[in-house]
């Protein structure tokens, strides 16, 4: 048994043993979980995947004469300005009014983080205290006050593998799915994926410090649609899924090495978000979870040609090892499987986080509050629902 503060002491002293999730899987296989739990203090994870539920709060500072912005566009991408005078929230998936699906909020965010200036155009109805009615400016991150990403839903614990059984090609947020199940796509970094490694959220909660697009960010809240749960297979093995995180972090400290805009064909704009979480190896139980490899982590295969709330599941259990092999068997057919999550970048993040923890630049945190494990899932009832 170790505590987080003991581990932090070791990190400060430069003596903590830090492994990436891939490395700890190998070590536990060679030396056993018991030995591994004794030797290792911290395990770092990483993921780099399109995460639509992302966006940025920006504060422009005040102009002279003053303006209370009611309509804001950045490079022709509308932002939500229904906040105080010079605050806005720019959603990653918002599309440009002039370039459509080729450019959106995510691209503005990437351009800003890359150090570029973007064109701000603001409108107002004018008030006694804020008389100005329009404003045009070129703004970059260094010209603005606080700029932080606040992503309501990131780091999905697990995600299904998608196929298309119909006879036409479909373009989805899971990529291009060829007809007659000619391909499959999946979107989790497997054994490197943060929330698969502490599936019951024992060590992660509100206030947990995380690697967030190159900066040190924090878990702000449970993510939207966070419904932690698991499926238990016949042999007693559990597959966890459903947890998500709301993350917050300073854009001025981020790097485009770890965050990038994405255009998903005929679907829209999304954002590749790089997240890494360091886990303290508190005890053998946690170490056993942290050491689970791709062959012990599972997802299901769903048919994306059926655009319903619950899509048909064509295979209940497929391991990340099988998906990673590049071929997956579905309904007796062997089909090519391709990722949407960059394993290369996920690995880079876990390695960079390892380096930062080893150097004492990144300390672990005791969560300020636990994330709820008993959330209730609601669905939306439209007025035209059949009774």
């Amino acid at each position: 048994m170790k505590t987080i503060s003991e581990i932090n002491e070791k990190i400060r002293a430069g003596s903590a043993v830090v492994l990436t999730a891939e490395e700890v899987v190998r070590m536990a296989r060679e030396q056993g979980v018991k030995e591994t739990a004794k030797k290792v203090d911290v395990v770092t994870t990483g993921t780099f995947s399109p995460m639509c539920s992302s966006g940025a709060f920006l504060n422009f500072g005040h102009a002279e004469p003053l303006i209370r912005m009611s309509g804001v566009k950045l490079n022709d991408v509308p932002a939500c300005a229904g906040l105080a005078a010079v605050d806005c929230y720019l959603g990653a998936t918002e599309l440009s009014e002039t370039r459509g699906m080729d450019y959106g909020g995510a691209h503005v965010i990437e351009d800003l983080i890359a150090g570029k200036k973007v064109h701000l155009s603001a409108r107002s109805y004018g008030t006694d205290c804020y008389p100005r009615k329009s404003l045009e400016a070129e703004v970059g991150l260094s010209d603005m006050n606080q700029c932080f990403l606040f992503n309501p839903r990131n780091a999905y614990q697990n995600y299904n593998c998608s196929v298309n059984t119909s006879d036409r090609i479909i373009h989805t947020y899971m990529g291009t799915l060829l007809p007659h199940m000619a391909n499959a796509t999946y979107a989790t970094a497997g054994e490197l994926s943060p929330l698969l490694k502490d599936p019951e959220l024992r060590t992660i909660g509100i206030g947990t410090r995380v690697f967030f697009c190159g900066a040190q960010g924090y878990v702000a809240w449970e993510g939207t649609q966070c419904f932690p749960g698991y499926t238990e297979y016949e042999d007693g093995v559990r597959s966890y899924s459903g947890a998500t995180l709301a993350l917050i972090g300073d854009m001025k400290k981020m790097s485009t090495d770890y965050i990038r805009a994405a255009c998903i064909y005929q679907y829209g704009v999304s954002m590749f978000v790089g997240v890494g979480i360091p886990f303290p190896v508190l005890d053998e139980d946690l170490c056993a979870q942290l050491s689970k490899g791709n062959d012990e982590l599972f997802t299901e295969v769903s048919d994306y040609s059926v655009p319903l709330r619950s899509r048909p599941v064509l295979r209940q259990r497929v391991s990340y090892a099988e998906l990673r092999s590049g071929t997956v068997e579905v309904c007796g057919k062997k089909i090519p499987a391709a990722p949407m999550t960059s394993l290369k970048k996920s690995r880079d993040i876990a390695l960079e986080l390892k380096r930062q923890v080893q150097k004492g630049e990144f300390l672990l945190t005791e969560p300020a509050a636990k994330l709820p494990l008993d959330t209730t899932k609601h669905v939306l009832h439209a007025l035209d629902d059949p009774k």
């Binding site: 990038r260 255009c263 590049g326 949407m340 999550t341 970048k345």
Partner: protein
Amino acid sequence: MEHSVKIRLRFTPADTERPFVHLLATRFGLVFSILQADISPDKGGRMVLDLTGEEKAIEDALQFTIDQGVDVRILSRVVRWDDKVCVHCGSCTAVCRTRALQLDPETAMLSFDNARCVVCEMCVKACPTGALKVELSP
């Protein structure tokens, strides 16, 4: 100087009865590789070839093809991969049926083998970062 060109041939069922590709290879001293072939004697079909050789020989071979009444198109468009823009997500590999685009199992990095590419351009749409583009070949 050696040149390389990709061509797409379309055969009618009658064309398939002649040893056309054999003639093309032996007569003009070209090195060729078949990138894609989907032909049956009753339906005809299509074939994508990469021809390498002297410019004059390639021109003659193309003229020969036209004279033989085989439908030919030069695939002058090429796919370019910008590894500085690429994030190695692998989305493009989902649609690349020739496996010109592949993720290395060890390094998890994308590789692009232009020789295998049949310029179907599926990957260009599937790439979320714009790392794959079509260009006119020089």
